[in-house]
């Protein structure tokens, strides 16, 4: 399938959580009763996908959620073994799972490692208890610290997530969280700006009690400062939200930005395969019903033509700090024939939102912060 091309990846969505966090808009459920049926359905779906993927090689597998750390380690091991039997994984493949701090223990970390997991992305979010409880996280800073050491002690490659813009967050508390995570020994850090659009509770709260939130301008300043904090700790910025030590980039996630094919298994999972973007249904019952009947649970299936691909290359590629080839952008602009866009493009470079290194164009750090203003012109 992708012979000669870069090895592909597989994403597996595990939607179970103990409770729903205030800001979360992912497809999750707090009702564990369907779990056995779900794991069964994943097996079925994997078998269906495997037919299509024959001939392709893979080098990354990602268990995301939801809360994959809620899945009993034996089930996780079985699932991971089954996938490795059905799909052609190279040795040394990256196998990541997301974990919530309250689930992690030294024993579990060892079991995960034995199940073949070699990388864990931990949802730290913040090291300030006030912020954690404000959004209904089940853990406190102390358990996040314990979880981080347990994972590191088990020899796993660890990434930590932080969120900028949480209610109750202050400039000082955010800096402190960033510094602590940078110094914790993790090789990878993801920092997300809180997206409020999809969470009614947070959006309403912010309108009602703005004093609980950092202003957009303050967040922008902090984000720039964050880059410096992480850089001093040896973590290099490589994608809008991601920083890594050398060799510790998220191999799987990079495929999304570079448009390397990935399969997606599970409810609401997305994939890019054979020049098509597909997505599974986002309702759990519909997903289970489809697979119980042996049908693929597809909700969206769209071919990506050359123009669309060029557009995606720009919009996704610009998220990376190495940017995209200058020629790709310029070809796109001239094909578009929009004189205003051409003038604006020159203006963005002049103003330093976009930088050029030989043959390539990329966002500057402050350019990243306003990247939607620019990227939306390329859709």
């Amino acid at each position: 399938m992708n012979e000669g091309a870069a090895p592909a990846g597989i994403y597996v969505h595990l939607p179970y959580c103990r409770s729903r966090c205030g800001y979360c808009s992912f497809v999750v459920t707090t009702d564990p009763s369907s779990r056995t049926a779900y794991l069964q359905a994943l097996d079925t779906e994997a078998a269906l996908e495997a037919e299509e993927a024959s001939g392709a090689t893979f080098d990354s597998l990602y268990f995301g959620g939801g809360t994959p750390s809620l899945i009993p380690p034996a089930d996780l091991a079985r699932l991971s073994n089954r996938l490795r039997a059905l799909f052609d994984f190279e040795s040394g493949s990256e196998i990541t799972m997301e974990a919530n701090p309250d689930d992690v223990s030294g024993d579990l970390a060892r079991l995960w490692s034995e199940a073949g997991i070699n990388r864990v992305s931990l949802g730290v979010q913040s090291f300030a208890d006030r912020e954690l409880s404000a959004v209904g996280r089940r853990h406190d800073a102390a358990s996040a610290r314990r979880a981080l050491s347990a994972l590191l002690d088990a020899g796993l490659s660890v990434s930590g997530d932080l969120i900028l813009g949480l209610p109750e967050q202050t400039e000082e508390s955010f800096r402190a969280s960033a510094r602590e995570l940078a110094a914790s020994g993790v090789g990878h850090v993801s920092v997300y700006l809180l997206e409020t659009e999809k969470s009614k509770i947070i959006e309403e709260d912010r309108a009602l009690r703005p004093e609980r939130y950092l202003s957009d301008d303050a967040q922008a300043d902090l984000w720039l400062e964050l880059g410096e904090i992480l850089a001093r700790a040896g973590l290099h910025h490589y994608e809008i939200s991601n920083w890594a030590r050398s060799g510790a980039r998220a191999r799987h996630n990079e495929k999304y930005w570079r448009r390397v094919p990935t399969l997606g298994l599970g409810v609401s999972a997305h994939e890019l395969w054979s020049g098509r973007r597909r997505a599974n249904v986002s309702g759990l019952p519909a997903y289970l019903d489809a697979l119980a009947a042996g049908r693929r649970p597809t909700a969206l299936d769209r071919p990506i033509d050359a123009a669309e691909e060029a557009r995606e290359r720009i919009v996704l590629g610009l998220r990376l700090t190495d940017g995209v080839p200058e020629a790709e952008i310029e070809d796109w602009i001239s094909a578009e024939g929009d004189s205003r866009l051409a003038a604006d493009y020159a203006g963005w470079r002049e103003a330093g939102w976009l930088l050029s290194s030989p043959g390539r164009v990329r966002f500057s750090e402050r350019g990243f912060l306003v990247s939607n203003e620019i990227l939306c012109r390329f859709v």
């Binding site: 994403y11 969505h13 992912f26 990602y62 995301g64 920092v191 997300y192 700006l193 997206e195 957009d216 301008d217 967040q219 922008a220 300043d221 984000w223 809008i240 939200s241 495929k255 999304y256 990935t262 997606g264 609401s268 999972a269 997305h270 994939e271 890019l272 973007r277 997505a279 969206l300 995606e312 919009v315 996704l316 998220r319 205003r340 203006g347 963005w348 103003a351 939102w353 990243f368 912060l369 306003v370 990247s371 939607n372 203003e373 990227l375 939306c376 012109r377 390329f378 859709v379």
Partner: protein
């Protein structure tokens, strides 16, 4: 061919909301023009905008059959007219096609400003007036008071005014009998050359221009070669019809009748409303007087959001003008907005309606600029210029003096609101001419105002001060000298021509400050700082800053889901596309109307 002696042509006129269209419903029903199944409220308000706003915008005619008590069948041509001041032109052109007018007065409101104005129009047209007092079903109805007011204020006898409830269908039969008895039948010579008044028209995509006429003399039938006297253009009639209210083809239209014709006319300038239609072979001796052309009071620029739509806009305006001769337009070129038109309207509501009709009926997206009035400028060289566009003002050192239009207005109100209304009028530089009690608690005020002080929000203010009870009518009385200046708005140092206004010198500073502040609210943050200034000549009188946007980013594209991100970006792109680019700055459409939103 109906016997002209058994035709009655009448308009229904009244103040806004007094029940004209509802009364028409009942008449349609009584004459069997609609089945019970088809019947709904305000049948003749068939334009989407009329239904949404609950008001009549266009006069609408319908031909009905009525068998009267004398056992004879009569043909009634009823024209339902709008009541709002901005559409008074619709009333004038309707009256020109009639011998009678049914003057409706709401029994709970009494005589109001447009009752007077429309009654005078009817009197001026030598029409027979049939007074009707409507809404007698309401507990607060005071038909006796209304009767007195008709006699005292309008000055016509009303002792035998018909009491109706259009809502409950009371008094309809009596009204129809009265129309048959009192409205004179049309006079005209059936054998004379064709003479017809063109009083409405619209464009039909299949049949071309549809013209609505009232036959004065002669007849109109297929294959008649006709000429429009005003334009001199000719055509051959293909089909004639009447509206009952659905269009019905008839063999011919004869003396006194009202109906439409198609003559395969594709030229939108073939004729104009008010023109006289005659035969080519046997032209009539003289053209009809027509009716006074509408004088636009308010002017504003209309521009397509997408410059490529300029041609479509021009065509749409030509087509709309067929149907609404009371708005005018001429090409205008703006540095900020590109090619568009400077349009004249009868008022602000009219402006809104024209914009909405253009957008809906012709699928356009338009930007309207600040409405203002037309000034008269006397240059140092002795020239007199009419300036309806602030950017056409000569440089200050070439202006000898400037004059602004004045109106005389009639306000009718209950006296408990008098204090508030007097204050409002004084604030608007009004000069009181008279104050008269119509009855123990109703007052008629006459004021003269600079038109510019009333075009924007005077009507809304009057309504809110009087809780909707006061009514207002006005007419143009001439130009008077004023101390006027041009107020410019600069965005990042560049004057934006489409935002300029002409204002009174003493109001210029507060207005400039309010406008700059409003613009700051409307213009979204951009990637760089945007500075908004208000200036008179080279003097900056206000300054506001829209700080640069710092953060607009989607940090996460989870699990390879790029569709969500894409949708978000598309939404942002759409938002930007609808804005106008001036220099480097994206300005939302509503910014060009910001002046309507400042207090």
């Amino acid at each position: 061919m109906p016997d002209p002696g058994r035709i009655r042509n009448f308009s229904i006129v009244a103040h806004i909301d007094h029940g004209k269209t509802t009364l028409s419903d009942r008449i349609l029903q009584r004459c069997g023009a609609v089945s019970a199944r088809e019947m709904h409220e305000q049948m003749l308000d068939d334009m989407e905008l009329e239904q949404e706003r609950g008001i009549t915008i266009k006069a609408r005619s319908v031909t009905l059959r009525y068998v009267a008590k004398d056992g004879l069948e009569y043909t009634l041509n009823l024209i339902d007219t709008p009541g709002h001041v901005d559409f008074s032109y619709e009333v004038s052109r309707s009256l020109a096609a009639c011998e009678g007018a049914v003057l409706v007065v709401d029994a709970t409101q009494g005589v109001e400003a447009q009752t007077l104005a429309n009654a005078y129009l009817a009197i001026h047209n030598n029409l027979v007036i049939v007074p009707v007092i409507n809404k007698i079903d309401l507990p607060s109805a005071e038909p006796e008071r209304a009767r007195e007011q008709i006699e005292q204020v309008v000055g016509i006898p009303a002792d035998d005014a018909i009491l109706t409830s259009a809502k409950q269908g009371i008094g309809i039969e009596e009204l129809l009998e009265r129309i048959v008895r009192d409205v004179p039948p049309p006079r005209g010579n059936p054998d004379a050359p064709l003479k017809a008044l063109l009083f409405d028209s619209w464009y039909d995509p299949y049949r071309g221009v549809t013209s609505l006429v009232r036959i004065i003399d002669g007849k109109l039938e297929p294959r008649t070669k006709i000429r429009a006297i005003g334009t001199g253009l000719e055509a051959e009639v293909e089909e004639v019809g009447v509206f009952r209210p659905e269009r019905e083809t008839v063999p011919r239209l004869s003396v006194g009748e009202v109906g439409s014709f198609w003559a395969n006319i594709k030229d939108l300038h073939w004729t104009r409303i008010g023109d006289t239609i005659t035969e080519v072979n046997r032209p009539t001796a003289g053209a009809l007087e027509g009716f006074a052309e509408a004088k636009p009071m308010v002017f504003a620029g209309l521009f397509p959001t997408d410059a490529d739509d300029y041609g479509n806009l021009r065509e749409a305006m030509d087509k709309l003008r067929l149907n609404d001769a009371s708005f005018t337009f001429e090409p205008e070129n703006s540095t900020a907005l590109g090619f568009g038109f400077r349009c004249g309207f009868l008022g602000l509501l009219h402006m809104e309606i024209v914009q909405e009709r253009l957008e809906r009926e012709f699928d356009l997206d338009l930007i309207t600029t600040a409405p203002g009035v037309s000034y008269r400028v006397i240059t140092t060289g002795g020239e007199i210029l009419e300036v309806a566009n602030p950017n056409h003002l000569p440089p200050p050192n070439h202006i000898e003096k400037m004059e602004e239009p004045y109106i005389s207005s009639t306000i009718i109100t209950r006296d408990d609101f008098l204090g508030g209304l007097l204050k409002l009028s004084e604030d608007r530089r009004g000069v009181q001419k008279s104050l008269e009690y119509l009855s123990s608690n109703r007052v008629v005020l006459t004021y003269e105002f600079p038109l510019n002080e009333v075009v924007l929000d005077f009507y809304d203010k009057l309504k809110s001060i009087s809780k909707g009870y006061a009514s207002f009518d006005y007419e143009f009385i001439g130009y008077r000298e004023g101390d006027l200046v041009k107020l410019d708005i600069l965005v990042n140092g560049e004057p934006v021509d489409a935002l300029s206004l002409i204002v009174h010198r003493e109001e210029s500073a507060p207005k400039g400050r309010l406008l700059a502040a409003k613009m700051k609210e409307i213009i979204p943050r951009q990637m760089f700082e945007v500075i908004i200034q208000a200036a008179i000549g080279s003097k900056i009188i206000a300054r506001e800053t829209v700080s640069a946007i710092r953060k607009n980013v989607i940090a996460k594209c989870y699990g390879g889901d790029i569709t969500r991100k894409r949708k978000l970006l598309e939404k942002q792109k759409e938002g930007k596309k609808r804005m106008k680019r001036v220099g480097r700055v994206d300005i939302p459409q509503e910014a060009f109307l910001a002046v309507l939103k400042v207090e």
